[in-house]
């Protein structure tokens, strides 16, 4: 056990810190997230810059153009980006989900076609999994992909798709085998977002912004060569995607919490310093943040030693989301009436945080997963 950086890690961190210092434009620091991520072309430019500096695809194998670095480099990247309040890469779905899924299940042609463009942010990806009637229950997806010769004809609707309005490609899970049993009824496709019949409508959320979208597919023809894995084997392919969604997710989440924590400390020093109860609550949030941070380190060590995320990682998203809700509420509470102002950071974060316990696995589903897969409790269904 050694919680310090190795000499290589320390060197990487120092170099990255200097690079961020020199390259993050002042006016783009400390973004509150949300719609600001796609307001203009800056997102793509920034992502391209990260790629050129070698910071995109740190953990991707070298044969696919990545750095082939251990997961700890990616964790350091996320920590330092948060510390510098640097904007995020807009290709997160491509880098973290679509890319690894193509590496695992794609043909040589598919790899050739997409992987280098995902790295360079030439291709931005979105995810077409959730539907109005199939949120947590992916196998109940109703979007149809009907095989007609060399194409699948796709009809249906997807929802809660981040980046869809700027995306070039979509990873799509659709029903292809009407008669097959659950989990053998799906096919996994990559869909060109500019194909005829694809329509994207932004979805306005409780913050008033539109970060997510609905995607409508009307007789969209998807060539068979865009299929990942087997026809009817989409469930297994989707599980690869979701596994990667959770891989180093904990670090990304905790890094954003770190930014909020630093703001909270500032607010508390100014507004709640004489109040012992408030100080206790702020301390509790600091303690839980350390608990999450070191839980991520433990999960990371397991991942590096075994190649598989450890069970402790399943806790990260569940507890991060709840902590973010408490922490943003506390920040607004400390500010009093000032925290109600419409352009306030805390006001926005508190509203936005309500989505945290719903997106990327609701807290209820995560507790089911812990109960059944980690604790081994009997299955209810």
């Amino acid at each position: 056990m050694d919680l310090r950086d190795t000499p290589e890690e320390a060197a990487f961190r120092a170099e990255l810190r200097a690079w961020l210092e020199a390259n993050v434009p002042e006016e783009r620091r400390g973004w509150r997230g949300g719609e600001q991520r796609f307001g203009d072309d800056f997102g793509r430019e920034w992502s391209r810059k990260l790629y050129e500096a070698g910071y995109a695809g740190l953990t991707w194998p070298q044969e696919y153009g990545g750095a082939g670095a251990p997961y700890s480099r990616h964790a350091i990247f996320l920590e330092e980006s948060a510390r510098a309040q640097a904007p995020a890469h807009v290709g997160v779905i491509g880098l973290g989900m679509a890319g690894p899924t193509i590496m695992a299940h794609g043909s040589d042609e598919q790899k050739q076609r997409h992987l280098s463009k995902i790295l360079s942010a030439e291709e931005i990806w979105c995810q077409g999994f959730s539907e109005p009637d199939a949120g947590s229950d992916l196998a109940a997806a109703r979007t149809r992909a009907e095989r007609r010769g060399d194409v699948f004809v796709v009809n249906g609707q997807k929802v809660w798709s981040s980046f869809a309005h700027i995306a070039d490609w979509c990873i799509l899970v659709a029903q292809s085998e009407a008669a097959a049993p659950r989990y053998r009824n799906l096919t996994y496709l990559t869909v060109d977002m500019r194909a005829p019949g694809v329509e994207v409508r932004p979805l306005r959320q409780i913050t008033g912004e539109a970060e997510f979208n609905e995607i409508f597919f009307t007789d969209v023809e998807v060539p068979v060569e865009n299929m990942l894995g087997e026809q009817g084997g989409g469930w297994q392919v989707a599980m690869t995607t979701l596994l990667h969604e959770r891989g180093t997710l904990g670090f990304a989440l905790t890094a954003t919490l770190e930014v909020a924590m630093n703001r909270l400390l500032g607010v508390a020093r100014e507004h709640g310093n004489g109040d012992a109860a408030m100080r206790g609550r702020v301390a509790q949030e600091w303690i839980e943040l350390q608990a999450l941070r070191y839980t991520n380190y433990r999960a990371l060590t397991t991942l590096q030693q075994t190649g598989v995320p450890g069970p402790e990682g399943s806790v990260a998203k569940l507890r991060w989301s709840e902590q973010n809700q408490r922490l943003t509420k506390l920040g607004r509470e400390l500010l009093g009436a000032e925290g109600l102002l419409d352009d306030g950071w805390w006001h926005y974060q508190q509203l936005r945080s309500r989505g945290n316990t719903i997106e990327a696995g609701t807290s209820e589903v995560l507790r089911n997963i812990i109960a059944e897969r980690v604790l081994g409790l009997p299955r209810g269904r």
Binding site: M1, D2, L3, R4, D5, T6, E9, S72, A75, L265, A268, R269, N273, G274, A276, R279, G280, V282, A283, Q284, W286, I287, E288, Q290, A291, L292, R293, Y294, T295, Y297, R298, L300, T301, T302, Q305, E312, V315, L318, R319, E364, L366, R367, N368, I370, A371, E372, V374, L375, G376, L377, P378, R379, G380
Partner: protein
Amino acid sequence: MDFAFTSEQQELKRQARAWLAERYPLDRDWEAPQDDAWAELAELGWLGVSVAEEEGGAGLGFLEEAILFEELGYALYPGPYLATVGLALPMLGEEERAAVAAGATRWSAEVRGLVPWLDSVERVAADGASYEARGTSLPTLDATRPLGRLERGEGMPLPGEPDVARARAAVACEAVGVAQRVLELGIAHASTREQFGRPIGVYQAVSHRLADTYADVELARSLAYWCAWCVAEEDEQAPAAAAAAKAFATEAAVAACERSIQVHGGTGFTWEHPLHRFYKRALWLEGFGGRPAELRAEVADSVLGVAVGV
């Protein structure tokens, strides 16, 4: 960055788990006087883990001790290991350390005017000196952990200072062990107890409580190991880490016991079931030497700066 125990440390954990399960099973006679197995602990080398080899110890560090504290909590070990190794050891001189490693002397220390196990140790470290263990001992809610008031006889100076962070780290690790054990008891019960024709663990009102306990235990474990590492490495973050770990882990242990009692239903409320003994141990750990609210105030001082106008 490497946040895992070495294979030797994992082996120590396995050995401790196995030995304690054999020596302190759940179905032991809880009403009989509890045997602290002190000579056996000395033989196992547990009393001199961090004592130098030339003094008869194993020459290891606090991480190995942290592993033992966790396992002792898991097994609900009754003796004064925490007092001797967790509280007193850093204050002792070479000769006294050798006697501890050999199992010749049990020690305790005065913490905020109270001496745990005063009636079952030979010596007490208090205000920089060593005293014969004499005075009044009062039972606490944990029957194996009385607290006493020291009657000071002649004191002999001790070379070391109390190490508050180390003591808190020890308590935090023990709390993690307690929490882990009651979680496992809850899982076992929810998997086998049937109502309405199904094991009660299929009901989310039950399984989600246990999932929450699991999350608490994992977070507490991360803090406890972080803090153990800081203590072992004399890292500057040790005091804040220890305050954080003790506050979080002991509260997590108490909550874990309360949820486990609820999951056990009426059985968990009986004297016969050992759950209440774990609960009482958790409450003792939470209350001894710095309550969570005080510890959070310390953390606040360190992250916010000392309060103005309080």
